[in-house]
Assembly symmetry: C2
Homo-oligomer: 347 residues x 2
């Protein structure tokens, strides 16, 4: 090897190590504020043992429109696994074409949120699953009718028996929710560019995305959006520094106040988890902002009391785009056949 | 081997051959009236070359609710691949929760129908696919808006380019329909017990199902319900012998008359294809009969001018249940991401 080639190689090594050092610093900086890689594969809820039978049953229930009174709306209608785990609408459309009060959150990685719904009123996914089924503006059904529907189909009865072995009466509304939780727990999206970067792959993120991550930490976004789900861990007032306009923060929706009745919880919401955020426009609980860069700017003025420049917002958006992970491959389920005993659709 | 065992074996052989002869006769009888096994795998439409890219694109479009004005309704909403390729409603629910005029037919094996819709107004699946997208009571969209939606998403633009190579402007409403047709052509359900029986497997159908098949031929059901799709081949007046009640045959819907304006086509409909009929209650274009046995009885009085006894109807239903085939396994598609250019949902 000639001297000049040796010199080039040495320079390249220095350059690489310098980049690596910077990347390593950025990684340490992100870790210091609680950002972390998404685990691969499903988590085990403490009180709901995961089994193949339960997950498969939960998948069927998730896609079954007959959980709704009309027979038209399934969990997947508003948490569409093909479009980011949400419905890409400002607020969802439900029974009778009614509009729901808040934007549908993604089901992907929802298991990592500390609680479910924008106001955290459900402590876990199985508690969450019971809500929309019964909400008049969503699926407009009730537990008795759901159980009658499920019990009318022998294939479901058999599958509930296998998913909840040893139970005398396995087809219950609670077990429906547990099965749906078991399926939803599998809906994780690992290996995003950000995760691969955190794992040690310097090339996984672009320079712009790394600059965005650095800004995301520096500007204090991680005060609310941190942890494994880059949010979803705690509650904060929307408009901490400056309340946004009534279009973005409608005065009628007081957020967590409706759960706790505590004045300090007025306009308090669970910080949005930011994984796959690029797939789930429009943004905020009101679903009134379609542009992610605009959403970043709103957060700057409302939560941080700072003007985030267009250039900086662009970099932060680039970082947010690096949070899009690998979406799970799901085989569309063949659902049990209705019988004469199946309750008829109600409109 | 002892003489008695030899005798038993000989008797068993005679018995088996006698059953086989009956089965062979039944098979010949079915073939004589045009019943036949479903081919395995997709058919090739004459004017729409099937390619992997086109089928995959068609699957995405089939499941994409953004083909509708509201962003809520996809082809799969009314032709749900998990529930028999239809929606199990009397008539479908569409834009603004409006009810459609007729029962949604199954998409499974629809490629084998001579024409599409209950009145045959679309000559093939690609012509059919354009209908619901534009119908005000269904997806309420228009071609310009659909094309704008598709062109707003780079992943779709790229996929249309690969599915329709060499075309200067591949993202068109016509090509959308062609891609959907290519996917739908793959939605065949071979290897039903009936098909396996026709293939030569005597044990594939039960005795009751065979008796039902025999009755189905003997009573003349095959005059309308024959061919590869056990129907779907030609047009017949509903109420040929005796007009059913206005609940089942609403006077306002004159069927094929609305297509041809010929008086002889009043209350004429395409004979329903009967494959997977057990999965697609409720029945008839009005969707007013939930019980398959009752539907068989209605056909007896209305079309054949004969009372089919409860026992006979039960056997015919058993035969119809033998027409349920293997439903295709479909991986739920991950859909392209919306952009700032994507038209917003309209309610």
């Amino acid at each position: 090897m000639s001297k000049s080639i040796l010199l080039l190689a040495a320079l390249a090594a220095v350059a690489a190590s310098s980049v690596a050092a910077t990347d390593q610093e950025l990684r340490a900086k992100a870790a210091a504020v609680g950002l972390q890689a998404l685990p691969y594969g499903p988590q085990q809820p403490n009180d709901n043992a995961m089994t193949r039978e339960k997950i498969e049953l939960g998948k069927m229930l998730f896609f079954d429109p007959r959980l709704s009174a009309s027979g038209v709306i399934s969990c997947n209608t508003c948490h569409n696994l093909g479009t980011g785990g949400d419905d890409n609408l400002p607020t969802s459309v439900g029974h009778g074409w009614q509009k729901g009060p808040r934007n549908s959150p993604t089901v992907f990685n929802a298991v990592f949120n500390n609680a479910q719904f924008w106001d955290g009123r459900a402590e876990d996914l199985k508690a969450q699953a019971k809500g929309p089924v019964q909400a008049g503006v969503e699926m407009a059904n009730n537990p008795e009718q759901v159980v009658a529907t499920l019990k009318s189909m022998p294939d479901y009865v058999e599958r509930f028996g296998r998913a909840f072995p040893g139970e005398a009466d396995p087809v219950t509304f609670d077990n429906m929710a547990k099965a749906i939780e078991a399926f939803e727990v599998t809906l994780v999206t690992p290996a995003s560019p950000f995760d691969q970067f955190i794992e040690g792959n310097d090339a996984a993120m672009t320079t712009e995305q790394k600059e965005g991550l650095n800004l995301f930490v520096e500007r204090g976004c991680t005060a609310c959006h941190s942890g494994v789900n880059v949010g979803g861990e705690n509650y904060f007032p929307f408009g901490l520094i400056k309340r946004p306009g009534a279009d973005i923060l409608p005065p009628g929706d007081k957020g967590r106040f409706q759960v706790t009745n505590s004045v300090s919880d007025e306009y308090v919401f669970r910080a949005a988890p930011l994984r796959n955020i690029a797939l789930t426009a429009p943004y905020f609980h009101s679903g009134q902002v379609w542009d992610l860069k605009q959403a970043v700017a709103v957060m700057g003025t409302a939560q941080l009391g700072t003007e985030i420049s267009d250039e900086e917002a662009g970099k932060i958006v680039a970082f947010l785009e690096s949070l899009t992970g690998e979406l799970p491959k799901v085989e569309y389920p063949i659902l049990p056949m209705e019988t004469a005993e199946t309750p008829r659709p109600q409109f």
